[in-house]
């Protein structure tokens, strides 16, 4: 489908000049639709702390047909594909597949409202073009438009300072100085950025502020003591990281601990920290660990289901859903029927620098009554926490000369640094599982589980349910259950990613 066939693009915004920044959206909350040919704000309506958009607005923008059926449901059709919404239900059917929404559709006067997530979860799977909902910045990118998310950080360091500008996905930029300003122009169609990117820093700061100049350009306001700068860009995974080191004039009043170079382009002072840390937020890789395998069959159900087979089948479904619909790489710790040692499972996650580790298991009990899914995070005793805290960075020589700070983490205690994020993900996962599959009486728990101690990233172990319970065995081996579980995992990953993005933190 051609972009120009969208009515709002051809009618209201015919020129590419219409591409502007989020900062220039009209007052009041709105979702900005951004495509190759223009942008259009859609009003956001708040209903009990949830962000909704009017279904009619989406219909006009995306050529959707909306019908209210006699039996109460609302159908949304697009090119022969149908979404069925039911009032008071968070579940919706998208081309026959069930998806969940954070809130049911709401009625406001004569129009229907749907949560923002309707776009990413219901519309995106059936729409011709890529729909990239960036909830934290109220942006919906339509089609193949280059709109990198840009974050700016400034670290003052004595008589010098460092600006770190991350653009994700990668975008190159040109840096130039014009008097008391440095401009950074990105090779992109628009920028996804908060405004101002860097608020005023105070009178004596080398960098006073960073402003948005136009759709793709940032302006850096320099302080009176600015003497020179050095810029370097380097790709880090899916991010381009631009580092601009600025230095001050060497004057008698400057309490500079290090000599400041007096020419633009002079090398940065030695005490600056390494420039290429992991980029800010985003989930790029998830490791999914199908429990057991080979001669380790795990729990066996009364009707013959084996834990090792079910975990592999569900893990493959998770990989297909997450890779296919989110574009996040999913690595399985095993993709066949073999026994993988526990340390090898976590090594696959650590060596591939995964951002999330999900181990999939099925539960068992000596009593057949036990039922329900549960999510576990690691538990450490006080001695382990103290041992992990006593670790730290060591300055070690690197290949090719020089020194580098290397952080040393004991393998068995790597998870201690991520336990808060793991707990947060477990809570999000519980929220998305609830109402879709049966939960255990303690749905989120912490336990000293071997496979959760070494992942150097947020990590959880999910028990789908009890194979020792005949009813549960029948349920869990069915497609309906497995699809609902995979959808909940998918929703939880999207939710977790949005949370990280909004917080600007790393996983």
């Amino acid at each position: 489908m051609n972009v120009r066939s969208l009515p709002f693009l051809s009618g209201l915004f015919p020129l590419a000049l219409a591409i502007t920044l989020l900062s220039q959206t009209p007052p009041g909350p709105s979702l900005t639709l951004l495509s190759k040919d223009g942008r259009r704000p859609l009003p956001i309506i708040m209903v009990t702390d949830q962000e909704f958009v009017a279904l009619d607005d989406l219909a006009a923008a995306f050529q959707l047909a909306v019908h209210e059926e006699s039996f109460g449901a609302v159908t949304v059709s697009y090119k022969g594909k149908t979404i069925v919404l039911t009032p008071d239900q968070t579940l919706a059917s998208v081309s026959g597949r069930l998806i969940s929404l954070p809130a049911p559709p709401a009625r406001s006067g004569r129009q229907w409202l749907v949560p923002l997530e309707f776009v990413s979860r219901a519309l995106a799977p059936i729409y011709d073009m890529r729909l990239d909902l960036r909830k934290a910045s109220h942006l919906l990118v339509v089609g193949d438009v280059r709109v990198p998310r840009v974050t700016v950080r400034y670290d003052p360091l004595g008589a010098a300072g460092r600006l770190t500008i991350d653009a994700t996905p990668r975008a190159t930029s040109t840096v130039s100085q014009e008097g008391e300003h440095i401009t950074v122009k990105f090779d992109a169609d628009a920028l996804d950025i908060t405004n101002p990117p860097l608020p005023p820093q105070g009178g004596q700061s080398l960098v006073q502020a960073v402003r948005v100049v136009d759709a793709t350009t940032l302006g850096i306001d320099l302080g009176p003591k600015f003497a020179g700068f050095k810029a370097a860009a380097q790709p880090v995974d899916t991010t381009t990281r631009l580092v601009i080191d600025v230095v001050a004039q060497q004057t008698e009043t400057t309490p500079a601990p290090a000599p400041a170079p007096d020419l633009p382009g002079a090398p940065a002072p030695a005490e600056l920290p390494p420039a290429f840390n992991p980029p800010a937020f985003s989930i790029r890789t998830i490791t999914v660990d199908p429990g057991h395998g080979g001669d380790d069959e795990g729990v066996k159900g009364a009707a013959g289901a084996k834990e090792k087979d079910l975990t592999l089948s569900v893990a493959r479904r998770m990989k297909a859903a997450i890779e296919g619909r989110l574009g996040i790489r999913v690595l399985l710790t095993r993709d066949d029927d073999r026994n993988v040692p526990i340390d090898e499972r976590t090594a696959i996650a650590n060596n591939n620098k995964a951002d999330l580790f999900i181990s999939v298991h099925l539960n068992g009990s000596m009593r057949r009554s036990a039922s329900g899914a549960a999510v576990y995070c690691a538990a450490f005793d006080e001695a382990a926490d103290a041992a992990a805290a006593s670790g730290g960075a060591e300055r070690l020589p690197t290949f090719g000369g020089g020194l580098r700070d290397i952080e040393l983490v004991p393998w068995d205690l790597a998870q201690t640094r991520h336990i808060d994020q793991s707990t947060a993900f477990a809570a999000i996962l519980e929220q998305h599982l609830r109402g879709h599959i049966p939960l255990a009486e303690t749905p989120v728990d912490r336990a000293p589980l071997r496979v959760l101690e070494s992942p150097n990233m947020p990590a959880v172990l999910v028990e789908l349910g009890y194979l020792t319970n005949a009813e549960q065995e029948k349920l869990i081996t069915g497609d309906t259950f497995q699809n609902a579980f995979v959808q909940a995992i998918y929703d939880a990953v999207v939710h977790f990613r949005d949370t990280l993005g909004a917080a600007g933190g790393t996983p």
């Binding site: 068992g364 172990l461 028990e463």
Partner: protein, 187 residues
């Protein structure tokens, strides 16, 4: 010359024996004494019992329930711990259900100066384990809690299987270090 050599061999053998005793036998003797009752050699009066809190799988199947049962009295902590664990892993009749696989027996038990008990169970505890995270947690904490809840001198328990340290029983719970009492699994 021959006599002198023979004497030297005898002295060397004695020294070696003393050395082995000092480094292998003595620590266990010392550690047992550290937490033992004052007279470890005094025989317990026949038939004397204590009330011990033992743990079984709850009705819901996902927790433990504490039950008071009579266990033979012993004069020192290590002996008492053996009695308690032996009673805990022993066969039970309905309505009680044990989280410890049937056939599991206690091979040995000792307590260190630090108050950590090492409980050595027969291989059935792992080989006959039906698996599942919750199940394995209940098995492990049945033993850990039975020892720590009844003997305040013991702060943590490490499970051994067939005399050896193990990673896990069935692939989930880390058994490479002693585990402290955890009553969150108890109703």
């Amino acid at each position: 010359m021959t006599l002198r050599r023979a004497l030297a061999i005898v002295v060397l053998a004695l020294l070696t024996g003393a050395f082995i005793w000092a480094f292998r036998a003595a620590p266990r003797w010392r550690s047992t004494r550290a937490v033992a009752a004052p007279s470890p050699t005094a025989p317990a009066p026949p038939g004397r019992k204590i009330k011990a809190r033992l743990f079984y799988v709850s009705e819901s199947g996902t927790k433990l329930t504490g039950i008071e049962r009579d266990v033979a009295y012993a004069e020192n902590a290590a002996e008492q711990a053996r009695e308690i664990v032996a009673a805990q892993v022993g066969a039970v009749a309905e309505p009680l259900v044990s989280a410890v696989p049937a056939g599991t027996t206690l091979r040995a038990l000792f307590i260190t100066e630090k108050g950590e008990a090492f409980v050595d169970l027969s291989r059935d505890v792992a080989a006959a384990h039906p698996g599942g995270t919750a199940n394995e947690l209940l098995t492990v904490y049945t033993i850990v809690n039975a020892v720590t809840a009844n003997l305040p001198a013991v702060t943590a328990v490490q499970l051994l299987v067939d005399g050896k340290e193990v990673d896990t029983l069935a692939g989930h719970v880390d058994l490479r270090r002693p585990l402290a009492r955890n009553l969150t699994y108890v109703q």
